[in-house]
Structures are given as C-alpha cells and as structure tokens.
Amino acid sequence: MSLAAEAFVSQIAAAEPWPENATLYQPLREDQILLSDCASSLAVQAYLRMCNLPVHVSCRSNAEYMSPSGKVPFVHVGNQVVSELGPIVQFTKAKGHSLSDGLDDVQRAEMKAYMELVNNMLLTAEISRPRYSSPYSWPLNQILAYQKQWEVRRKMNAIGWAGKSLEQVYEDVSQCCQALSQRLGTQPYFFNKQPTELDALVFGHLFTILTTRLTSDELGEKIKSYSNLLAFCRRIEQSYFEDSQAGSSSRGYSKGPSLF
C-alpha cells in the first residue's frame, strides 16, 4: 500500500474496535488451496489468535476474486476488507493491537529481515510444488488450472527461480531453516518470550509444509531435522490452536491435520 493509502486506512481503522463478526476468507481447503495460500492463511490466523482477536474462518471457492488485491487470505472486519499478512498487521496496529511494540529498532529491523527471508525462500519453494485442482466443472477447472500455473511460472521467471532444479529448491529451504533455527536457538519465540508476527509467519509456513501430503516428503523431512523448529511449531499449535478443538464450532478452525 502506498503511504497515503496506509494513513487513510489507519485513520478509519482506529475509529472502531475489533468487532465480533470478523471473518477470514480463504479458498477451499481440500480441493483448491495452494500450499502458499494455505501457509499465508494459517499465518494470519495464528497472528490474530496471538493478538486475542476473534475471527471466523470461511472457505469460499472464489476467495481470490473477492480479495481486494487478488491475494488470499483476506479479512472482512466491520466495513473494511484487508488482505495479506503485512497490511493486516498494520490494520490491527491501527486498532491498537500490536505484538511488536516491545521490540527496539534493531530487533524490528531483524524481524522485517527474517520475514522477508521466509517469504523469499519458503513461499517460493511452496509455489514451485504444483498442486491446484478446482472445484469447478470441466472445462473451467482446466482453464483456471492452466492460468494459475502460467502465472506462477511467470513469477518464478521474474525472480530468477525458473532455472532452479528441485535439488536447489530443497537446498534453499534447508538454508532458510538453518538460519531460522540459528536465530531461534533455545528461546521459546524469536524475540524474548512474547510471540510476534514473525512467529506467526514462520509457524504458518512450517506447519503447512509439515502437515500437507505432497508427492514427496523431502521438504517436511528437511524441517524435521531441526528439532527446535519442530518444538516451536508444536508449542504454538498447543498454545493457540488447541483450545478451539474442544471449544464450540463458532470458531472456524475445524479439526485439521495436527503435528501430534
């Protein structure tokens, strides 16, 4: 978002508190959702739970088209629609909920850097694993699938990943996990003892890779070799997603795959 648009949205956002009926939209879990979209959606859910903000998850087949930026997930809060983790974090900050207030400037810079690292490596690794089927009937499902594939391939070309072999992608993921593991060390979360948006983002991606059934488990194995990352994912799942399993079904997070 440009600076002016951001300022405008912040002003409007600050006017109202977080409503009870906020909804998060994502594509259908079984058929449609891409690995990267699933990870982004989980990251946003984790972040909102960490902020203690209630949100209802709704799966729609046309979520991509409903979104203002074309990217999923997006949240519908009051009379505003905000998509992607970055803008959602800004939006909640404007409403007075923030996880990174306690960080000093150096740590904030590091947090931004690590978030970019995750986006760069893990997101694009997820994109390179093709998995897109469609809930629509023939021929629309074929057309949409090809369109999606073509779009992804163009993006990969633009960022220079087109020539990468599968081995190199795994190598990059491994490097990224090593960096994350080093940074996490023995701490419970990446910064002090409180989770931040970086924790939400990392959790979203790692959890998705670990629990989604792919043609090969190589990506998952790479992550499992770092025990502190595995423990980190379990910890966040236990602290923020466990209570909803036993709770009422008004919380949209239905019992999906788990690490246990």
């Binding site: 400037d105 850097a113 986006n119 760069n120 633009a158 960022i159 490097q175 940074r183 060390g185």
Partner: protein, 287 residues
C-alpha cells in the same frame, strides 16, 4: 581443494563502470565487491554489450569446468566453493542474519532501484538510456535499452514493492562493516544496492568500500571522462570506435561513388568499353 591457478582462468563479464563506480549495474557491483573482498583472482571483462557475455546477460562468470553462471548468488556460491570466502569470521547467528538481510534488500530495495533506473521517465531518458545507447555497438544501441526496460518492468510488476526506502532506514542501524572489521557477503550485497547516496550512514559505508577496495576505479572513471583514449584494462571501447569510424567512412565513400556512377562516370565507362577493342585509340574521357 582448488588451486589458485584454476581460478585465474575464470572470467567475469560485467557492465562497464561510470560515475566513479566500478560498474553501473547493481548485480555486477555485488559480484565485483565480493570478489575483491575474498581476494579472488578473476579476469575481468568490462563490456557494454550483453550479447558478448557467455550467458547473454550480465554479470556472468565463465569458469573452466562448470560452464557459465549468471545469477549473483550462484557466482558467489561458486567462489565460496573455490575457497575464496569472505565470511570465515561470521558466527552462525551472523550468517543467519546475513541471509535474512539479503532477502530484505532484494525484496524492498531492489524494486525501488529498478524503478529509479528504468521506469522513472526522466531518469530513464536522460541517464540510463543515454548511457546504454552510447556504450552498445551499432545497431544494438537502438533496441537494447528498450528491451532491458521491458524486462525490468515485467520483473517489477511481478515482484512489486511499493515502499520506497523504508528498508534503507532499517539498515541504517548497523554502521560501517556490519559484522566486525572485515567485509562479508552481506556487505557486498548492500554495497551493490546502495550506490545511490540517500542516507548519510549508508553513503559513508559505500565510500569506505570504494576507497578501500576499488581505489583505482575513481581515477579511471575521471580520466575516462576527460581524455578520449581509455587507458589500461580491456579497452573494448577502442575497437568499437574504430569499427564505427571505418563503417561510416565506407558508407560515405560508397554513397559518393554510387552518386558519381549514376550521374557522371557511367559515361566514362561506356567510352572505355568501346575502346577495349581498339587499343590505340585516344583514351581521354569525354566528361
């Protein structure tokens, strides 16, 4: 264990330098800076025509055994494998931070720089396009800048970052050479992206690196602006200029000759052919 003699035959192709910099392109600067930091002996080719590079794009590293490499990260990995390493002294955490900050730079700063150089209309027309048209050979100079601009526009549209220099402000917190006194791969990346002098802290960083590792470039750049004959290095400019001069002389001669043939001298040739049969005839041309 690679012997240094193996590296000596590796050749690095880069965009030429200008405006006190060893190269005008970000990615070439990254690779050059890393090679200097690590002390890798490379044969340097500074060219203005990307078609002359082994991979068709710049920067490109032509190795003896592994073919040609194009991406800056691939080139740096290759240099590391050859034991030319600038990051021995980094702790594990610093290495992890390096990776993270490189991603930050590529995600946030790179689009801003691409925009400034290639998309902003005033800059593009006055600076970038002019420079590339001047340094590319005929007839490439007509369509090369446009084609590179289209590529960069596409790339920017797909990656798309809107926040201009907020990433630079984050980095401002780390002074001098980020991790200790000896430079590292992160420093080469940062140098590559920050030659636009926008923040004091960071511009000191750049001038430090330029002064310490590229002392000759400043003087070379200056002399190139002043004198017409470039000195030292691979003088790829000169054959280009000679060729252009030769070509223009030939074209002029051809034009004059054909004009003369069409108007005047054709008559002389007719007379000469009739005279071939009788050699003793008077051969003065009837002009």
């Amino acid at each position: 264990m690679a012997a240094p003699s193996q590296m000596a035959t590796s050749q690095l192709y880069c965009w030429e330098g200008d405006w006190d910099l060893p190269s005008v392109d970000n990615e070439c600067l990254i690779v050059l800076a890393y090679a200097k930091f690590a002390g890798a002996p490379l044969k340097l080719h500074k060219i203005g025509n990307p078609w002359r590079s082994p991979t068709g794009s710049l920067p490109a590293l032509k190795t003896r055994k592994n073919g040609s490499l194009s991406q800056p990260s691939d080139i740096i990995i290759h240099l590391r494998k050859q034991k030319y390493n600038a990051d021995f002294d980094l702790s594990a955490k610093e290495e992890a931070d390096t990776l993270a900050f490189i991603s930050l730079l590529e995600e946030k700063l790179m689009p801003a720089l691409v925009y400034t150089r290639w998309i902003d209309p005033k800059n593009y027309v006055e600076v970038t396009r002019r420079w590339h048209a001047k340094h590319a050979p005929f007839p490439l100079n007509f369509f090369l800048p446009g084609s590179i601009q289209r590529q960069q526009l596409e790339r920017l549209r797909l990656v798309r970052g809107d926040e201009e220099l907020t990433a630079g402000e984050e980095l401002e917190l780390y002074c001098d050479f980020f991790f200790g006194d000896s430079p590292s791969p992160l420093d080469s990346f940062v140098f590559g992206y920050l030659h636009l002098k926008s923040l004091d802290n960071l511009s000191h960083f750049c001038s430090n690196i330029l002064a310490l590792y590229f002392p000759s470039e400043g003087r070379e750049g200056f002399s190139r602006k002043v004198s017409s004959q470039p000195e030292g290095g691979d003088a790829d400019n000169e054959p280009g200029k000679r060729r252009k001069q030769l070509l223009s002389v030939l074209v002029a001669l051809g034009a004059m000759l054909s004009y003369a043939l069409l108007t005047g001298i054709v008559a002389i040739q007719h007379v000469k052919q009739e005279d071939v049969g009788c050699k003793d005839e008077d051969r003065t041309p009837v002009a």
